[in-house]
Symmetry: C2
Subunit: 342 residues, 2 copies
DNA sequence: TGTCAGCACTCTCATGGGGTGAGTGCCAGC
DNA sequence: GCTGGCACTCACCCCATGAGAGTGCTGACA
């Protein structure tokens, strides 16, 4: 069975009409609305062909056609990359991402809000991962008697800290010297590459404060490996409840579960490639919880480093054209914003 | 119209039965199920009295009674404070809050999860507010050329930091000295009391680094006043979708909006008094968005300071007995956990 | 005076059947 | 290969019907 020009046209028309109306699309409707110059009967036979190819289906005998996940996939692959976002949307995005944002977390949070309100789907933005950033310095800062605060700073200004217990007999000067020594030796490393061995090496000589070093090392090893899971900004999950596919409370509950269990989304986003806009449709999602959804995502950069991922989660019946354009534009502007700011 | 013993009994029975079944409660049903020793006819006349008092209502002529918000209020005020949580629940809470938790954020997050899974409603936990904590030290830590990281640490180990720009001609030693000077002078202050004037005073003399001081002051003034809004942990919003009162997508969307706009919940929680378990029912909520919900909340402490608030949001038809017991127990155990840990 | 059985009445909700309309598949003719 | 015609299939709306739940009222009784 070949996929000729008419099949393309009909598939596209069915998909777009279904996206618009959320209803099964009939042949007559299509013949009138789209100006295909053939009769409904012809369209019917074309549709039958598309159904045989697995791109369309219909819920019951006398209903119109709806696309299958595979149908959406073919449709999406037909889309011309680089279709621009409406000028008004572009302006809105630039306005809201261009202001004087004080903190990095504010920028990514703002990006999530924009995407959600613009597309009326749920948005997810993974903040720049700690691991990809460049280690700048470690500071162990005394906090009262036997407590101190250990802070790692990266060259792009992110920081992560935690309180640690101090062994007896350590002075503020000791801590200062220690901080300086470690900072000097590890500067320029990727945070993700701060392995236990490496720390051991860098600290090895300063054996005088053995127990303190152990505490710091234990923290770095555990937190940087595990706690480095990037922070997610999720916005607009409620929009999904308006979609007819999530009308039944069970379906709604199931999809909201995804947004409450951040690890699921984090894993899904992690699959996005570094280049271009990535689309994962329904059953294509590795994660069962997302099988009734589609994900449109893109990677952004933070300065010269890999930043994180921005994405949209919606029903498989998603407005892909708009979603793709919005995700791409937001990812680009986010990269711009992070090139010049904190 | 007096509120005699029979009215109490009937009101309680109606409320508890309605909470259980989510259906209007009829007189016959009540007479059989509860062992009130009167006939359905008598119960009917009692119900009519309760309705006249505004505590019950009925959706249509031939339906049973359901409580009004005011009815729930009277019911709730009748509950004996101090009813214990089932032993199994208590054990579960102790187990999950008692482990070796690494960070304060982990404890509050865990508390939110426990409450949500235990009650099957949505839970909200406000992390200890920065403002109530005691200022410990300020550190301005160099980050590359003309950038530095300003970090405030509180005596309980919380920290908040942000990058600032350095004016020319400042050395690491200058920063150290400055940090030390400010720390010394402000130690012991409540963070919330770090007003602009106070900072001005504390820094006044070190006028050599005027522009740096300005940057630090600007940050402190803005962020500590505004950004000090405590972080909220929200969990289990999806549970609400299972409640019949949120069946209609519009109702569901409206209630989920509350959970996506943290400021709404933060404001609602802020109204909780420091002592005891606080209940706010339906129309009692100042915030219109919460008018179809009830909120059960309690304040916990962090060491010797006021900590934050734990709460549950559910339908007005909430299992108040269990909710109150769960909130109280979690708040108490959370206070315990924060007394002894980071 | 409070309680209760009896009764008429009201209203919701589930059920089922008929009609309507949208849409299909197939076929014969151009 | 396209098209008009036609029979057929369902989903869905509408409406009538009846069952069931629950109420309010009344009059009798202790």
């Amino acid at each position: 069975m070949q996929f000729d020009a008419r099949k393309r046209t009909v598939l596209r028309a069915v998909v777009e009409e279904h996206i618009r109306s959320a209803e099964p699309v009939g042949s007559e409707h299509l013949a009138v609305r789209e100006h295909l110059r053939v009769s409904p009967a012809t369209i019917r036979s074309t549709m039958a062909g598309l159904e045989e190819m697995g791109l369309l289906t219909h819920p019951h005998t006398s209903a119109g056609r709806i696309p299958t996940d595979q149908g959406y996939r073919v449709y999406v692959d037909m889309l011309v990359e680089g279709e621009p976002l409406p000028a008004a949307d572009r302006q809105e995005i630039r306005r809201r991402l261009g202001g004087t944002l004080e903190e990095r977390a504010e920028v990514t949070d703002q990006a999530a809000r924009i995407l959600a309100s613009l597309t009326q789907y749920a948005s997810v933005v993974a903040a720049p991962g700690f691991q990809h950033q460049t280690f700048q310095s470690l500071h162990v800062v005394p906090l009262g008697e036997r407590r101190a605060l250990a802070v790692i700073a990266t060259s792009s200004g992110a920081l992560q800290g935690r309180p640690i217990d101090l062994p007896e007999g350590i002075t503020a000067e000791d801590l200062d010297a220690l901080s300086r020594a470690i900072s000097q030796r590890l500067q320029g490393c990727r945070v993700g590459e701060l392995t236990y061995q490496r720390l051991e090496q860098a600290m090895g000589e300063a054996s005088r404060h053995h127990r303190l070093l152990e505490a710091v090392k234990a923290w770095l090893r555990r937190d940087l490996a595990r706690g480095a899971r990037p922070r997610l900004h999720i916005e607009g999950a409620r929009h999904l409840l308006r979609e007819p596919e999530f009308r039944q409370p069970e379906a709604a509950t199931r999809v909201l579960e995804v947004f409450e269990e951040e690890s699921i989304l984090a894993e899904a986003l992690a699959a996005a490639p570094v280049e271009g806009v990535w689309i994962s449709i329904g059953a294509e999602n590795r994660l069962a919880e997302l099988r009734s959804c589609s994900l449109v995502a893109a990677t952004y950069s933070a300065g010269d480093e890999i930043g994180g991922t921005v994405g949209i989660v919606g029903p498989t019946r998603m407005r892909y054209r708009h979603a793709v354009a919005a995700v791409r534009y937001v990812a680009d502007r986010l990269s711009d914003a992070l090139r010049t700011s904190p």
